[in-house]
């Protein structure tokens, strides 16, 4: 083209130059630096740690709520020790509506404020840029907002405990018309409204994160980092982000519909002439089952949002401490994708007994049976991964192994309830409670601990104490099985969930001693976490200093300093191979990092030896 054109573009570019220079402006000391570095930081690592600390704090809250629930189940109507004086209506005794609120908020806190944000928020944020060799997320401001949008949710959920009638108490599933009719229970007043507000903000936060993760993983991989050289953690985070992006809008919309039913007088979920507690609903013409469809259309994929990232992290940890390549990398990727795809067409299995057309139940039964398949493939591949390795029993590895061991239980118990005739009996019993605690606590939470012990050195530059880590693992492992395995046989009797006192039923009156045993185990399990908390904070300041790569792992984050500074890498990482090249024959070290340049001499020597 003409020269005039080129001068025009150069003139246009000129004003941009000083703008980019702003970033190197002299640091303004004091409060504003502190705020921008540690509070309103746009650095993905700081945001990841903010998520981690917040979720661990909520984990404590959720755990204490669980203990209060267990207290009532084991010793109904007996005085609650210590805390009883604070909340009890009569002496130290728990009211049934209070119990209903406790299990609702236990599930809400654990799902929306702990599991989802600890996986995607904490580990997704911290690990994605580091593991793909990027200096930060694609949209750092969006990323910061994804954390700060959690705060309105934190506040809404916390505040709801103190409003009249207490926090939401229609279960974490908030089924109408219990949830939509303000007269139906004490917690269906302000508590339920705040619950919906909190849920919406959690959704906004997840959506901001999800968009960011997808963009970052697609666009910002280091040179040489092809999609099929990504570690399983990143694949899992990527697919989780896709799941969230597609499923969340439905929940958000449903949440608003319920909010409108409650506040504006719409009747999406209320049938004509609905009378609750002698009060006639103002609007009608809706269908309570519609909520269940919309809610589970999100919340079933959400079940996979709550486990896939843990599966990914466990895959990486298993390979590292078995010193062996991942068995079946591509089948692992395809099975994660398969779980995600099938995850969208199985929601109806939560509704087999709901009054949904039983013929539709058959369809959902078949798709549900099929989703067990990719999970089975993953389990076999994990076993294949440790077969023939050199297993190092570190704390992180023990937690990862227990993930596999416990996931087998959670996966297999799922087949019982997928079988529709069996579900007739076990639906809404403790068998279901056992199942999802094996997946979410014994699975995901153990996976999260594995990840904390594994990436702690990268986060804080120091390693956690191994001895106390193992004590923590051992006690947690014993107590969790004492608490949750026994729930299977409790469910076999048909012991129903969510009952403040089931012992007045002839069928269940003899089950109190078993429940007391489970509560003792639950108390032990929560108490054990003191060991973890002390180890975590002590190691942060006094633990042995870790180098860049304390575990001799292969992935990119281990080539960065511990902890990495702003911008992550002190060089431009270039990727030459997949993430699982452990114990490569002919290589002196037992690991070959993704950034290690290919050595022509070694290759030649290996070829000569053959």
């Amino acid at each position: 083209m003409s020269t005039a054109d080129s001068t025009a573009t150069s003139v246009q570019h000129a004003p941009h130059a000083p703008e980019t220079g702003h970033h190197q402006a002299a640091p303004q000391g004091g409060l504003s630096t502190f705020l921008s570095t540690y509070v309103f930081s746009k650095d993905h690592k700081v945001i990841g740690l903010q998520f981690l600390f917040s979720t661990l704090l909520w984990f404590l809250v959720g755990g204490l709520l669980a203990l209060a629930v267990r207290w009532q189940v084991a010793w109904p109507w007996s005085d609650v020790p210590v805390l009883g004086k604070l909340f009890a209506q009569q002496g130290g005794q728990m009211a049934p509506e209070f119990y209903t609120m406790l299990f609702t908020m236990h599930a809400t806190v654990m799902i929306f404020l702990v599991i989802i944000p600890v996986l995607a928020g904490a580990f997704g944020n911290f690990l994605i840029p580091l593991m793909i060799g990027a200096d930060d997320m694609a949209f750092p401001t969006l990323n910061m907002l994804s954390y700060w949008f959690m705060w309105p949710a934190f506040i809404a959920f916390s505040a709801s405990f103190f409003v009249e009638g207490g926090a939401a108490s229609s279960g974490w599933t908030s089924y109408p018309t219990l949830s939509t009719n303000v007269n139906s229970s004490p917690g269906s007043g302000w508590g339920q409204t705040l619950w919906l507000v909190g849920l919406t903000f959690v959704g906004v936060s997840s959506m901001l994160g999800s968009v960011n993760y997808m963009t970052t993983i697609i666009l910002m991989r280091a040179p040489g980092m092809t999609m099929f050289r990504l570690p399983m953690t990143i694949w899992a985070m990527f697919i989780t982000a896709v799941l969230q992006a597609f499923a969340l809008p439905v929940l958000t919309a449903a949440g608003f519909m319920q909010l409108f039913d409650r506040t504006l007088g719409t009747g999406f979920f209320t049938p004509e002439g609905n009378i609750v507690n002698n009060a006639v609903a103002t609007a009608g013409g809706g269908q309570p089952l519609l909520w269940q469809h919309l809610f589970w259309f999100y919340s079933h994929p959400a079940v996979y949002i709550m486990i896939l990232p843990a599966m990914g992290m466990v895959s990486d940890i298993l390979t590292c401490f078995a010193r062996k390549p991942l068995f079946g990398y591509r089948p692992m990727v395809y099975s994660v994708a398969g779980i995600a795809g099938l995850g969208f067409i199985v929601w109806g299995h939560h509704m087999f007994m709901s009054g949904m057309n039983p013929a539709l139940g058959v369809t959902f039964m078949v798709s549900t049976m099929m989703i067990a398949l990719p999970s089975a493939v993953k389990t076999f591949n994990w076993l294949g991964t440790i077969w023939g390795g050199k297993i190092q029993f570190t704390t992180s590895m023990l937690f990862a192994l227990s993930f596999v061991s416990m996931f087998i239980i959670g996966g297999l118990s799922g087949i019982f309830m997928a079988a529709t005739p069996v579900d007739i009996f076990i639906h809404d019993t403790y068998f279901i409670v056992a199942h999802f605690h094996y997946v979410l606590f014994a699975g995901t939470a153990m996976g999260v601990w594995a990840a904390i012990y594994f990436w702690f050195p990268k986060m804080f530059g120091r390693t956690m104490n191994e001895f106390w880590g193992k004590v923590h693992f051992f006690l947690t492992f014993i107590f969790l099985n004492g608490t949750f395995f026994t729930m299977h046989i409790l469910g076999a009797v048909g012991f129903p969930r969510r009952l403040a006192d089931a012992y007045h039923y002839e069928t269940f009156h003899h089950l109190q001693p078993l429940n007391a045993f489970m509560t003792y185990c639950a108390i032990g399990m929560v108490a054990t976490q003191i060991i973890f908390a002390v180890n975590f904070f002590w190691s942060m300041f006094f633990g042995p200093v870790a180098g860049r790569n304390p575990w001799n792992a292969n992935t990119l984050e281990w080539t960065a300093p511990s902890p990495p500074g702003h911008g992550n890498f002190d060089y431009q990482p270039v990727v030459y191979r997949g993430p699982y090249e452990y114990s490569v024959p002919g290589v002196e070290q037992d690991h070959l990092m993704q950034t290690d340049p290919p050595n022509p001499e070694a290759a030649a020597a290996a070829a000569a030896a053959h």
Binding site: A95, P96, T100, S169, P176, T177, L178, S185, T270, P271, P288, L289, A322, K324, P325, F327, G328, Y329, M353, S354, G355, P358, M365, M369, A372, A376, V377, L383, G384, G388, G389, I391, Q392, F393, S405, I408, I415, F416, A419, P421, I424, F425, H427, D428, T429, F477, F485, I489, L490, A492, V493, G494, P496, H504, E506, T507, H510, L511, Y580, S583
Partner: protein, 274 residues
């Protein structure tokens, strides 16, 4: 020392299948197991439960023992030879995809008939009784002498369900206010009651006895106390009971106002049942 620690951890993982199986083996001895079944279709439901228990039990034991075996055998401190440098096996992937797929498909098809019997093949008859969930009680309505529901001569009761054995029962399930779930543990029946819907539930009891009616869907603060009782009895005993209850209702209500005084009558029944 390192070897000892490897042994310790592998054995801990071996305890999972050992104690897991032991729990299920010991539970029936303490009566922590499927409650007595008095229904006709229950045997098929329980049979399927045992079938899946057996199948998953085998997979559970096999995978957990393999996990233990690998941990014990491939412990680094045992100083085995070089690590098996493999990236997977196409054959194995195909095998362990196809076998579970076939098994899962088999379970899917195998169970369909039972599901259809319990939830889809509704007997062609008028409802035996209408059960209406209401915070926090089960309201019952039997057709009166005209054999039809919804007429002024209906019999209204609360929480005290009586049904004849050895014949098809069709329950018309409704809810007045919020979701409830009509759960008869001893009949292997569970069905949510949904406001705005009439849901048919059918079964056949084979044995006489008195059993629990449990509400299995959260319905508010008093969910735990939404308890009813079902009495299965011979046709003759059932008819006698029905006649007696009907006479009791007639005695307290002039016939023409029976329909108007529905709630009152139900409340009286509630008081009587306490």
């Amino acid at each position: 020392m390192k070897r000892l620690s490897g042994l310790f951890w592998s054995i801990l993982f071996l305890l999972v299948p050992v104690l897991g199986v032991a729990t299920f083996a010991v539970a029936p001895a303490y009566d922590i197991w499927l409650p007595k079944d008095v229904s006709e279709h229950g045997a098929a439901v329980d049979g399927l439960f045992y079938f899946i228990l057996g199948l998953t039990g085998v997979v559970f034991i096999a995978t957990e023992v393999v996990l233990f075996w690998f941990l014990w055998k491939y412990d680094e401190s045992k100083g085995n030879g070089p690590v098996k440098y493999v990236h997977g096996s196409h054959t194995l992937e195909v095998v362990w995809t196809i076998i579970p797929a076939a098994v899962l498909l088999f379970i899917s098809i195998y169970q369909m008939n039972t599901w259809a019997d319990v939830k889809m093949r509704r007997p062609d008859m008028a409802p035996t009784v209408e059960v209406i969930g209401r915070q926090f009680e089960w309201r019952l309505r039997y057709p009166g002498r005209d054999g039809m529901l919804g007429t002024p001569d209906d019999l209204h009761l609360v929480n005290d369900l009586h049904l004849p054995i050895d014949e098809d029962i069709l329950v018309q399930l409704k809810s007045m206010d919020v979701l409830h779930s009509f759960f008869l543990p001893n009949v292997r029946i569970k069905q949510d009651a949904v406001p705005g819907m009439k849901i048919p539930v059918w079964f056949k009891a084979r044995e006489e006895g008195v059993f629990d009616i449990v509400c299995a869907e959260l319905c508010g603060w008093g969910h735990y106390k939404m308890k009813g009782r079902v009495t299965f009895e011979s046709r003759e005993a059932f008819d006698r009971w029905l006649e007696r209850k009907y006479a009791e209702q007639e005695a307290t209500q002039p016939e023409s106002t029976a329909a108007v005084a529905v709630g009152q009558s139900a409340d009286k029944e509630l008081l009587a049942s306490r």
